[in-house]
Symmetry: C2
């Protein structure tokens, strides 16, 4: 399984993805699910992927090939993020055409979800949630975050804390707590977690970090949060029924 | 959808279920999902149900009919909780035989999960998770709680707080927080929530309460928890990346 979060904030983006993949319980491996595309000073894009690993890798391969071949339309020359998201959707459709029927012969769904975000000079920062069908939706000020993969365990804390006006630091802290909750409740999601922070109009990545099992900041957040929750819990008066 | 939790503790049981059912977004209704069977001083049982409402009601109907007909084996005369859980499983299999094929004609799964718990004099208190196939598992000191329905949003807080030694009051408080998190993140689960507390060897229900939208204790837990979380969150130092 996988857990990825993308948050669009007034001041920029926070994106995070875990690195665990599994095909059954006896085939667990580590693969990065975060890919960046950048022309410093001109465009910065980040893509998080969930789903069938062969499908997500094939889609990335198509996108990279189009860049290498300097195709008329590729992620490094389109002029806006909507067109960039369309290119990702089109790559998904290409892989669907190649693979979906063969997967069906083996009772395997064609399964991919993508969080795709970034900024191209002249446009604001944008965040998209791209589906297996290649179509997509865009985040808004009212709905500033998307999750893909194993989304439910980590949603309550996002719902309580995240809004469009939230600072990048707070959003990053919240994302780490959201991953901690998910990792505690589901063995199919695990550290390391890749996190990326992008500040509007910088047109290069502000912060890109792999949070490993011994990451001092993650361990400190985990400890403070766990202890704080237990303290808050203990301070809530008991029910008056007894 | 539905959310139900059952917790087996050293001192007794805490059971809770929401009351929202929906068949599509335009057919939302309130139905209780908690049923009790009791012979005061001799046995106390509680059953929480999730799944297709017609199936869960049919199963309950069979169990009540067997009691009314004073069948050789019914929930009010079996001598231990394992046999009681087997009767519930057999009722599920009876309804499966009657309805499953007809449901299939309408592309509807035969879908029911049950949390069934209680105590019969001479035995300890026991908690079972009964599946659509009529088979079941029993809670243990190591795995003292089960959830059915929309389980993921409310699992992290249970994972952090609940263990077998936990007191009944703390478990009830934790269950209310678990419901609060679920209700906030998923519109298909909502108040009122039925909660029941059973103290070992009492052989009658200790506390059985419908938590309505304006329940003062629930509102106080919700407020303390929300404010407490925000305070803990604010107190965690920010990341050192900026």
């Amino acid at each position: 399984m996988t857990y990825c979060v993308g948050i669009l904030l007034e001041s920029g983006l926070v994106m995070a993805s875990d690195t665990r993949t599994n095909a059954g319980v006896d085939q667990v491996a580590t693969f990065p699910k975060m890919t960046t595309f950048e022309v410093a000073g001109e465009r910065t894009m980040v893509m998080l992927t969930a789903g069938n690993l062969a499908v997500t890798q094939a889609v990335l391969q198509h996108l990279h090939k189009d860049i290498a071949n300097n195709e008329t339309h590729n992620l490094l020359n389109v002029t806006n993020m909507f067109d960039a998201a369309r290119l990702v959707g089109m790559a998904i459709r290409t892989v669907h055409k190649e693979d979906a029927e063969h997967l069906r012969h083996h009772n395997t769904d064609f399964n991919i979800s993508v969080l795709f975000a970034g900024q191209i000079a002249g446009e604001p920062t944008r965040l998209f949630n791209i589906y297996s069908a290649g179509n997509f939706i865009e985040a808004s000020q009212e709905t500033p975050y998307f999750q893909i993969g194993e989304t439910k365990y980590g949603k309550p804390i996002l719902d309580r804390v995240i809004n469009y006006k939230c600072g990048l630091e707070d959003a990053l802290k919240c994302v780490l707590i959201s991953f901690d909750s998910t990792i505690r409740s589901n063995v199919s999601v695990d550290l390391p977690v890749d996190v990326l922070v992008y500040r509007n109009n910088k047109l290069s990545i502000d912060y890109n970090h792999r949070v490993a099992k011994d990451d001092p900041y993650f361990l400190s957040v985990r400890q403070h949060w766990g202890e704080g929750l237990r303290k808050v819990f203990a301070e809530i008066p008991g029910p008056d029924w007894c």
